[in-house]
C-alpha cells in the first residue's frame, strides 16, 4: 500500500470526513492491506494530529467531534476484519467512562473519550446518569484498567464518591484506577474520595491516564519482583 493512501487516511481523520475514512478502509482491505497497518499508519496518526491541534487551540470541538466520527467510521470497517484475523490493535489501556448518577452533561466526557481514543486507549462510554454499580459491573466485564467519572454539578459531584465505593465493594480496587473530572472537581476532592487522580481538562485526562497505566505497570512489575508498593 503506497504511503499516499496512509496519508489520505490520516487526512480523512483530520478533515473529519467519515465517508472518505470508511471508503479508504474498504479500499485498503480490497488491496490486501493488513487492517492493523491501516489503523496504525493511517488513522491513528490522524487522531494524534487532531489531539495535538486541539491542545494548541488550532482545532475546535466540532472539528474534533467530526474527526472522532471519521475514526469510528473507519474502525467499523476494520474492527470486524481484525477480529476475523484474531489480531487486536495494540492499545494503551481499557477505559470505562461515564457521567455520575443524576448528571446528564456529557460534553466534557465525550472530549475525554475522543482524546483517549486518539491516544490509543480503548474507551467504553457508558453515557450519562450512570450508577456506581454499573460502573463497577462494566469495569469487571470489560477488564477495565481505568474508570473515568465525570460530573458537571457540585450536587452530582458527590456521586463520584459512590462510584469509588462501588468499585471497592466489587473487589476491583486493586486492578482498577479511578480518575475524576468535571467543572467543580478539584485535586483535593479526588484525594478526599479516594480516587487515583484528577484531570482539569481533556488533554490533562490523557496525561493522567498514561500516568495511571504506567503506575499500574510499575506495581505489576514490583509485585512480580516480590515487593508490594502502595497503589
Amino acid at each position: 500500500m503506497p504511503d499516499d493512501t496512509f496519508s489520505a487516511m490520516r487526512q480523512s481523520i483530520i478533515d473529519g470526513a467519515p465517508d472518505t475514512a470508511s471508503g479508504l478502509a474498504l479500499q485498503a482491505l480490497s488491496a490486501g492491506v493488513a487492517p492493523i497497518d491501516a489503523i496504525n499508519r493511517g488513522y491513528v496518526p490522524g487522531m494524534h494530529n487532531v489531539g495535538e491541534q486541539f491542545a494548541r487551540g488550532q482545532m475546535y470541538l466540532p472539528d474534533m467531534m467530526a474527526s472522532a466520527e471519521a475514526m469510528r467510521a473507519a474502525m467499523a470497517v476494520l474492527d470486524p476484519e481484525l477480529k476475523k484475523l484474531g489480531t487486536e490493535r495494540p492499545m494503551a489501556g481499557i477505559v470505562v467512562l461515564g457521567t455520575t448518577k443524576g448528571d446528564i452533561h456529557e460534553i466534557g466526557k465525550i472530549l475525554v473519550g475522543t482524546l483517549l481514543t486518539a491516544h490509543g486507549f480503548r474507551v467504553h462510554d457508558l453515557g450519562v446518569d450512570v450508577a456506581g454499580e454499573k460502573f463497577a459491573a462494566q469495569a469487571r466485564e470489560l477488564h477495565a484498567d481505568i474508570v473515568g467519572v465525570s460530573a458537571l454539578l457540585t450536587t452530582t459531584m458527590r456521586n463520584q464518591k459512590g462510584v469509588v465505593e462501588a468499585i471497592e465493594k466489587a473487589g476491583l480496587r486493586p486492578q482498577v484506577r479511578i480518575m475524576v473530572g468535571g467543572a467543580p472537581v478539584t485535586r483535593r476532592w479526588a484525594e478526599e474520595i479516594g480516587a487515583d487522580g484528577y484531570a482539569k481538562d481533556a488533554m490533562s485526562a490523557v496525561e493522567l491516564a498514561r500516568e495511571l497505566m504506567q503506575l499500574r505497570r510499575d506495581v505489576a512489575c514490583n509485585v512480580s519482583a516480590g515487593t508490594t508498593p502502595e497503589p
Binding site: 475546535y60 466540532p62 467531534m65
Partner: protein, 491 residues
C-alpha cells in the same frame, strides 16, 4: 440587522447644526492670513483675522465634499473605505512616550519602538491602517516629521493615518508619499495616507492648520479634521454645546478646504474630551468623552460625510483593568456608532503614552466590537427546528454538521491574549501583561517586511538623504537597519 448606537435625535442634531452655522457667522472663525484672500474671493467677510461665514455658502461647500473615498494599500488595493457605516481602526498617533516593554515604565519613544509597533500592527487584521504613532526622540527634530512617515511606509503596506507638525514639512511628507506611490498623479488617484489637521479650540484655524487644509486639498491628498473641544475649558461645558462647537470647527474647516479644491476628500473627525474639573486633565477613557465622539460622528453622518474619532484609549498609567475597561468600552461604542476611522488604540495616560502590549490587548477588544456590529444572522431557513429534528431532546448539537459549518461564522476566536481557559503547555498561568508580551513576541517573529521595488526604495533613500542634508545632517539615522532587521547596503 446592523446594531447601532444613537445618542442624538433628529431634532437635536438640527439644533446643533443650526447653532453651529450661527457660530461660524457670528462670532465667526479665526483664520490665518494664508486663507484670507481665498475666503474673501468667495464673498466671506474677514475682519481682524476673523471670518464670518454665511450658512448658505457653507452648506453649498459641504455638499461638494465627497460622501466617500478610499485609502489604498501599497499594492494599490482599496483597504479603507471612508463613508457610510464602514468601521476601521488604527493605532493612536504622535505619542511622545512609550511604556518600555521590559520595565513597563514610561520613557521617551525611540524610532525602534515605532518600527516595532508598525510591525505588530501590520500583523493584526484588526488594524486596517497604520499611524505615525510616535514622535521619535532619537531622530533629529529637523527631520522627525517626515522620517517617522518614512519608517511607516518602509515597514508597512497598509494605509497610514499621519499628519504634519508644520506647514513646511507637509510638502516634504506629500513628496515622500508621491515617490512611494509612483508620482503625484498616482498619489491623487490612489492615496495611501490621510492627514490629520487640527483646529485650535475654540473656532481657530491657525496659520499651520489653515495652510495644511489648503495644500492637502490642492494636492488631492485626503484630510481629516481633528477638532478637539474640551468641554468646560475650551468649549461649552455641556456635551451638546461641545458637539455644536465641534460641528462649527468642522464646517468652517470644510469650507476652507472645499474653497481651495472642490471635491477634494475630507473627513469630519475629532478628538473631543471632557475637562476633568478636579484635575484639569482630559480623560480619553471617560464615558462622556466617548459620548462626545459618538455624538460628533452622528452630526457628520447626518450631513452624509465620512467620519473619524479618537477612542480605544485609556487613562491609567499602566496596563491595568481600568485602562482596558475604558479602551474596550469605547471600542464597542465607536463601532456601534459606525465611525469610519477610530484612532487611539495602544494609547494610555491621557494620550501621553503608547504601549505595544496594550495595542495587542486593544486588538482583542476591537475584534469583539467588529463581531458585535456584524450582528445576528439567521444563517439558514430554519433557526432551530431543523437542528432539533436531527438531535431530538438528546441535545447532541456538537455533533451536527451545521455546528461545524457555522460555528466559525458565529463565534469570534480571540488570540491567546484573552484567557478562554486554553491549557498552557507548561501549566503556567500568565497574567494579561505576560500574555500580551508573548503575543507581541510571536507577531514580531512572524513579521516579514515586503520590500518596495528596488528602484523605488533607492529613490526614497536618495530623497531622504537629500532632505536630511538640507536640514544640516550628514546622513540618515541608523534606524532603517535596527538590529532585528537587516537591509544591507541600504544606507
Amino acid at each position: 440587522m446592523r446594531p447601532r448606537l444613537q445618542l442624538l435625535d433628529k431634532a437635536l442634531i438640527e439644533r446643533i447644526l443650526e447653532e453651529a452655522f450661527q457660530l461660524i457667522e457670528d462670532p465667526g472663525v479665526r483664520v490665518a492670513p494664508y486663507v484670507v484672500d481665498l475666503l474673501r474671493a468667495a464673498g466671506i467677510t474677514v475682519k481682524d483675522g476673523v471670518a464670518h461665514i454665511p450658512e448658505a455658502l457653507a452648506r453649498r461647500l459641504l455638499d461638494l465634499a465627497p460622501r466617500g473615498f478610499c485609502l489604498y494599500d501599497r499594492t494599490g488595493k482599496p483597504a479603507v473605505r471612508y463613508g457610510g457605516d464602514d468601521v476601521h481602526f488604527d493605532p493612536g498617533s504622535s505619542c511622545l512616550n512609550i511604556l518600555d516593554p521590559e520595565t513597563q515604565q514610561a520613557r521617551p519613544a525611540q524610532s525602534a519602538d515605532l518600527v516595532r509597533l508598525v510591525q505588530v500592527a501590520e500583523m493584526l487584521p484588526q488594524f486596517a491602517a497604520q499611524s505615525t504613532a510616535m514622535v521619535c526622540n532619537d531622530i533629529p527634530p529637523e527631520i522627525g516629521d517626515w522620517y517617522r512617515l518614512l519608517l511607516v511606509l518602509w515597514y508597512s503596506e497598509k494605509p497610514v493615518v499621519t499628519g504634519a507638525f508644520s506647514a513646511s514639512s507637509l510638502h516634504t511628507l506629500i513628496e515622500l508619499l508621491a515617490i512611494e506611490s509612483g508620482g503625484r498623479a498616482a498619489l491623487r488617484l490612489h492615496p495611501r495616507a490621510i492627514f490629520d489637521v487640527c483646529p485650535s479650540p475654540p473656532l481657530n484655524w491657525s496659520e499651520f492648520a489653515s495652510q495644511n487644509l489648503v495644500d492637502l486639498a490642492r494636492a488631492g491628498v485626503p484630510a481629516e479634521i481633528v477638532s478637539m473641544p474640551l468641554a468646560g475649558a475650551t468649549a461649552p461645558v455641556t456635551l451638546a454645546g461641545s458637539v455644536t462647537q465641534h460641528a462649527a470647527e468642522c464646517i468652517s474647516g470644510i469650507t476652507i478646504h472645499q474653497l481651495a479644491q472642490p471635491g477634494s476628500p475630507i473627513v469630519w473627525g475629532g478628538a473631543p474630551a471632557i475637562f476633568d474639573m478636579r484635575t484639569g486633565k482630559t480623560p480619553m477613557g471617560a464615558i462622556e468623552t466617548a459620548m462626545l465622539d459618538v455624538a460628533c460622528a452622528e452630526v457628520g453622518k447626518f450631513l452624509g460625510l465620512p467620519t473619524h474619532a479618537y477612542m480605544v484609549a485609556g487613562d491609567g498609567r499602566v496596563i491595568d483593568a481600568q485602562v482596558e475597561m475604558e479602551s474596550g468600552m469605547s471600542a464597542v461604542l465607536g463601532a456601534l456608532a459606525g465611525i469610519n476611522m477610530i484612532s487611539g488604540a495602544g494609547m494610555l495616560d491621557f494620550l501621553a503614552c503608547h504601549s505595544i502590549e496594550k495595542l495587542v490587548i486593544d486588538a482583542e477588544a476591537i475584534a469583539s466590537a467588529q463581531r458585535l456590529i456584524e450582528g445576528i444572522d439567521a444563517r439558514s431557513d430554519s433557526l432551530a427546528v431543523a437542528m432539533f429534528a436531527q438531535t431530538g431532546l438528546q441535545g447532541d448539537f456538537l455533533k451536527l454538521k451545521e455546528t461545524r459549518s457555522l460555528f466559525r461564522k458565529e463565534q469570534h476566536f480571540p488570540s491567546a491574549v484573552i484567557d478562554r481557559g486554553l491549557p498552557q503547555m507548561d501549566g503556567a498561568m500568565p497574567d494579561i501583561l505576560q500574555r500580551a508580551r508573548q503575543r507581541v513576541g510571536e507577531l514580531l517573529s512572524a513579521y516579514e517586511r515586503h520590500p518596495l521595488p528596488p528602484e523605488r526604495e533607492q529613490e526614497i533613500i536618495a530623497f531622504a538623504l537629500r532632505e536630511a542634508k538640507q536640514s544640516g545632517l550628514e546622513g540618515l539615522p541608523e534606524i532603517l537597519r535596527p538590529e532585528y532587521v537587516h537591509e544591507p547596503g541600504l544606507i
